[in-house]
């Protein structure tokens, strides 16, 4: 069977009855014949929480019917890229139905898995919509009574994310070798009143019926500011958007669906904290004083689990880099990290379920809406952005210029913090800037941040590996071979750190170049003007 040649949506005049087919086919030589019996399909569309598949033009759907289940990955035009049959769970059956949400590892190795890895990465696949489709097929015959196309009517009842009925969809599939006749049939159908072109995919139609749209979550700051809006209104909008992101990731973090829920949640907290410190002056001082310690508490709550996540996500790379030791010898170290992470995750989940957390988010939202409604008209959003970005930029240039070849590691750590502050400010106020200039400015800063990040992460990890080794010795879970392999990793981290240190001066020189500095100045000047 080929891809659908054309899809239509039936309005109430054609689709209201139990069975819209056969439609009249006036002025044509086509006639209808019964096809297969009507069938019910249970459909589940899967994507990552941040819609990585949808954003890449891919659709992943699990369809179950008559005890058989198949997961299919399709492209923009509905072409099948890969498919994998999965059988319902039976006792003793190793390849049972995958329970969603699940990481990719739950899927059997094969072409589907291969296609999904680069897009999905470490994220879990979770149901974004579920529906039951009742599909009735009819055949369309030409004057020789030969089938030239199959037409199916799909009456879809959406069950998730809300219960709703979608408009009946009619799809025309040409039989091989009969494309020309099927195209004529499409013209005939398109001319029937009440039959409209189906512009949405089945997933989009299911979500629209349930009142959602695909791609409605992104970890990026997507708040649209106007240059002349009062800074207090702008900052309240920024903080509210960050709170939305934070809250959107709580459930996935508590249920430990994948590591990126915590990552996004943590970034929202860090951005909030930086914005409070750097641009919080636009809000009432009492508000900032009250909430800064609470967000610090929240940030600290998320640190242990995220640190261990970073270690575990980088583990395959570390193990692959061993020269003397083996992956097998590192296994006790990995087990140790996994145990520590489980304990940290329990603490994190407790914290996110606590009354203190609900109070924080609830009161913060109330305070923001109150702050947004009142307050001064000046400074404007653009004035605030210009002054804060200029100040943060000056500090990065000043601190970076003071770092010599013999400067202590702490000076690089401090510079990294200043860079992060500048980055957050650029991102928060991004909607005020020229997109191309903004992109270039962030790119140049990121180049420097990557180097500083590598320098500090390797230092932290090197210190941590000593702590882990001591813990494992205390717990008597560290064989000598494991400790030796861990030592090798520590040595590798030291080499990587030296490498990052040696690259710093070049990277900083690029960032502090006259052209780059002029870009930041122009960016803020244009917004303020």
């Amino acid at each position: 069977m080929q891809n659908a040649l054309r899809e239509f949506v039936l309005d109430d005049s054609q689709g209201a009855g139990d069975d819209p087919l056969p439609l009249p086919l006036p002025g044509s030589r086509f006639s209808w014949a019964d096809g297969d019996r009507a069938r019910a399909l249970r459909r589940t569309w899967l994507d990552t929480f941040d819609w990585r598949l949808y954003r890449s033009g891919l659709t992943l759907e699990q369809v179950s019917s008559r005890g058989l289940s198949q997961i299919t990955l399709t492209g923009r035009d509905g072409e099948v890229i890969a498919a994998q049959a999965v059988s319902p769970r039976r006792s003793g059956d190793a390849t049972g139905l995958v329970k969603w949400p699940s990481l990719l590892g739950a899927l059997p190795v094969g072409p589907l898995h291969e296609h999904l890895i680069p897009v999905v990465g470490v994220r879990a696949l979770l149901p974004v919509a579920r529906a039951v489709s009742r599909v009735h097929d009819q055949r369309v015959l030409n004057s020789d009574d030969k089938t030239v196309a199959r037409v199916s009517v799909d009456r879809m009842s959406v069950t998730f994310p809300a219960t709703a009925a979608a408009a009946p969809r009619l799809s025309v599939r040409a039989l091989r070798g009969y494309q020309a006749q099927a195209s004529r049939l499409v013209e005939v159908l398109a001319a029937i009143p009440g039959v409209a072109d189906g512009t949405q995919s089945a997933l989009e139609a299911a979500l629209a019926a349930a009142g959602r749209r695909p791609g409605d979550y992104s970890g990026k700051i997507s708040v649209q500011l106007a240059p002349r809006m009062p800074a207090v209104t702008a900052m309240a909008a920024v903080f509210a958007a960050l709170l939305d992101t934070l809250e959107a990731n709580v459930s996935g973090t508590v249920r430990d669906v994948d590591t990126e829920f915590l990552h996004d949640l943590r970034i929202a907290v860090r951005r909030t904290r930086s914005a409070l410190r750097l641009a919080g002056g636009a809000l009432p001082a009492s508000l900032v004083r009250a909430f800064r310690p609470e967000f610090k508490w929240l940030g600290d709550l998320t640190t242990p689990t995220r640190d261990l996540d970073v270690y575990l996500l980088g583990f395959p790379g570390m193990a692959a880099g061993l020269v003397a030791g083996t992956e097998q010898e590192l296994r006790p170290f990995r087990d140790h990290l996994v145990r520590r992470r489980a304990a940290a995750q329990r603490g994190l989940a407790r914290g996110l379920r606590s009354a203190r957390f609900s109070r924080l988010t609830g009161e913060w939202r109330d305070a923001l809406s109150e702050a947004a409604s009142g307050g001064r008209r000046r400074p404007t959003a653009a004035e605030l952005a210009a002054s804060r970005i200029a100040r943060a930029h000056r500090r990065v240039i000043a601190d970076g210029s003071a770092i010599t070849a013999t400067a202590p590691p702490d000076s690089l750590h401090e510079l990294r913090k200043r860079c992060k502050e500048l980055r957050y400010l650029l991102e928060i106020f991004g909607s005020l800037h020229d997109p191309a200039e903004q992109w270039q400015a962030v790119r140049e800063l990121k180049n420097l941040q990557d180097c500083l990040g590598e320098f500090q992460d390797t230092e932290v990890q090197r210190e941590e590996i000593r702590v882990f080794a001591a813990q494992m010795m205390d717990e008597r879970t560290a064989p000598a071979a494991t400790l030796l392999a861990m030592g090798e990793i520590a040595a590798g981290l030291a080499t990587a750190q030296r490498q990052a240190r040696s690259e710093f001066s070049d990277r900083f020189r690029q960032f502090a170049s006259p052209a780059s500095q002029a870009r930041i100045r122009a960016l803020t000047r244009a917004a303020a003007a």
Binding site: S69, R139, D145, T147
Partner: protein, 255 residues
């Protein structure tokens, strides 16, 4: 991909009925099937209601100027496609003769379809010709319908000798009795005795049944229109035997 050919030097012995029904049963079993109607009489094309016409005719196909892919038509049945007959197929011998390695030509033409189809059936016209040689050069298994007469058995011997004399590729033979009239003693005797004596004769036999003749009226394989009829069951048995002899792997599971 396995290639089955229905072949006999004689005409009117049930080649097309066999090709059509076995192709349908293979598709029902979940194989992706192509049936090539090589007979200019176009009986298989007629049965599937496909117009017996190929753009550019047999010449373009055999010369490779037109892709086989473009000429294929879907039948009304899932997973069963047809490469229709064309009246120019009456010249296939001449067309094959004009090219290089005529005996391997069909095998070469069909090779690119390997990823599209699990099973191909070649429904051949009667006679012994360059086309027959090319069919034997492409087929893995030749299905030979026999009317149980002494002369028919002689033709099977001739065919066996002919295949044994081929250089290189030699298909296996699975002969079976077709159009058996149980009222005729000779039919009964030959059909009962020969399968025991020869390993290349199938245990299954297809009786002369009006349901099979009616296929041309209903324009549908009897295995589709009356799967539980005696004719339907006989073809099902024959297909099982052909599958085993042809060492056909299980079809890929596709819900």
């Amino acid at each position: 991909m396995r290639i089955f050919a229905t072949y006999n030097i004689k005409g009117g012995v049930g080649k097309t009925a066999t090709a059509v029904n076995l192709a349908y049963l293979a598709a029902r079993d979940g194989y992706r099937v192509l049936l090539w109607d090589l007979d200019p009489q176009a009986a298989a094309s007629f049965l599937f209601r496909v117009r017996p016409r190929v753009k550019g005719g047999g010449k373009a196909l055999i010369a490779g100027k037109r892709s086989i892919d473009d000429a294929i038509k879907a039948t009304d049945f899932d997973d069963l496609d047809l490469l229709p007959a064309d009246f120019t197929y009456r010249n296939l011998d001449l067309l094959l003769d004009a090219g290089k390695k005529p005996a391997r030509r069909l095998a070469t033409l069909l090779a690119p379809l390997r990823s599209d189809y699990d099973v191909i059936f070649l429904d051949c016209p009667p006679g012994i010709s360059l086309l027959s040689e090319s069919v034997l050069g492409a087929a893995d298994t030749v299905l030979v319908p026999l009317i149980p007469t002494t002369l028919s058995v002689r033709t099977l011997d001739q065919l066996t000798d002919f295949i044994a004399g081929l250089d290189g590729h030699r298909p296996s033979i699975l002969a079976f009795f077709s159009m058996i009239d149980r009222r005729k003693r000779l039919h009964r005797e030959i059909a009962e005795q020969l399968p025991g004596r020869r390993s290349d004769v199938a245990a299954t036999a297809i009786p002369a049944l009006s349901a099979i003749e009616l296929m041309s009226v209903q324009r549908s394989p009897v295995t589709a229109s009356a799967p539980r009829s005696r004719a339907g069951l006989c073809y099902r048995e024959l297909w099982q035997e052909a599958r085993q002899r042809g060492k056909l792997p299980d079809p890929p599971s596709r819900p």
